[in-house]
């Protein structure tokens, strides 16, 4: 990388701009454990819950989200894990 070689004594640090919680921003969006399709956006490829620092959910909505995902898993609407077949 040309950038790195020209200024070798510096390192890059990334600060993500703080975005707003989408459920606070749009009151039409609902968190419902029966809505697997929507909740799936908040799971990783392996089926883990995406942390708040990535999803930008506020604490309140992340709490509602994790509860809804756990209920959806219980009802087989969402997976507990997705194991990659090798």
């Amino acid at each position: 990388m040309a950038f790195a070689t020209t200024r070798p004594r510096r390192k890059k640090r990334f600060f993500r701009r703080r975005r707003v919680c989408r459920f606070c921003a749009d009151s039409n969006l609902k968190i419902d454990y029966k809505d697997g399709k929507t909740l799936r956006y908040f799971l990783t490829e392996r089926g883990k819950i995406i942390p708040r620092r990535i999803s930008d959910n506020c604490a309140k909505h992340q709490r509602q989200m994790t509860l809804a995902i756990k209920r959806a898993r219980q009802m087989a609407l969402l997976p507990y894990t997705i194991t990659q077949s090798i």
Binding site: R7, R9, R10, K11, K12, R13, F14, F15, R16, R17, R19, R22, D26, N28, L29, K30, Y33, K34, D35, G36, K37, T38, R40, Y41, F42, I50, I54, S55, R71, R73, Q74, M75, A76, L77, L78, P79, Y80
Partner: protein, 136 residues
């Protein structure tokens, strides 16, 4: 009374008659124990996220009702003993609810699509703010 919903899943291959019998049975459990069924909506067959008792599909039903807390144990006991029922969950919706003041609810099956405008941006780069820092 309280308002609850019971979301449950039955075997995917039940006939119309059998589904009617399931509806009659669980509505009956609620009504005969002093509760009131507010709505009973079959959501239909869905692919499961993992197999349940060797089934890859399940038939989902959402029943909302008004009842006291003691009815939940009785309803869940009946569901646990019924081999047609594969999964169930009961969620309290309202602590203080009178069905006669609220009327019946529309039997709407929600869309099977995700709500719009939700996608988590996989590529975070365009929103990253790049700062440089002296080492040490």
């Amino acid at each position: 009374m309280r308002k609850y919903e019971n979301f449950f899943m039955v075997q995917p291959d039940l006939s119309e008659d059998a589904l009617g019998a399931v509806a009659g049975k669980f509505r009956g459990v609620v009504e005969s124990n002093g509760g009131t069924v507010v709505s009973y909506v079959p959501w239909g067959k869905k692919k499961l996220a993992y197999p349940v008792k060797k089934n890859d599909y399940g038939y989902y039903i959402l029943m909302k009702f008004a009842a006291g807390p003691e009815l939940i144990a009785e309803l869940e006991r009946n569901m646990r003993l019924d081999e047609r029922v594969l999964k169930f969950i009961t969620v309290k919706l309202d602590d203080d609810y009178l069905p006669e003041q609220n009327g019946t609810e529309a039997d709407v099956v929600p869309s099977d699509e995700a709500q719009p405008g939700l996608a988590v941006r996989e590529d975070e780069d365009e929103d990253d703010v790049e700062l440089e820092d002296e080492e040490d």
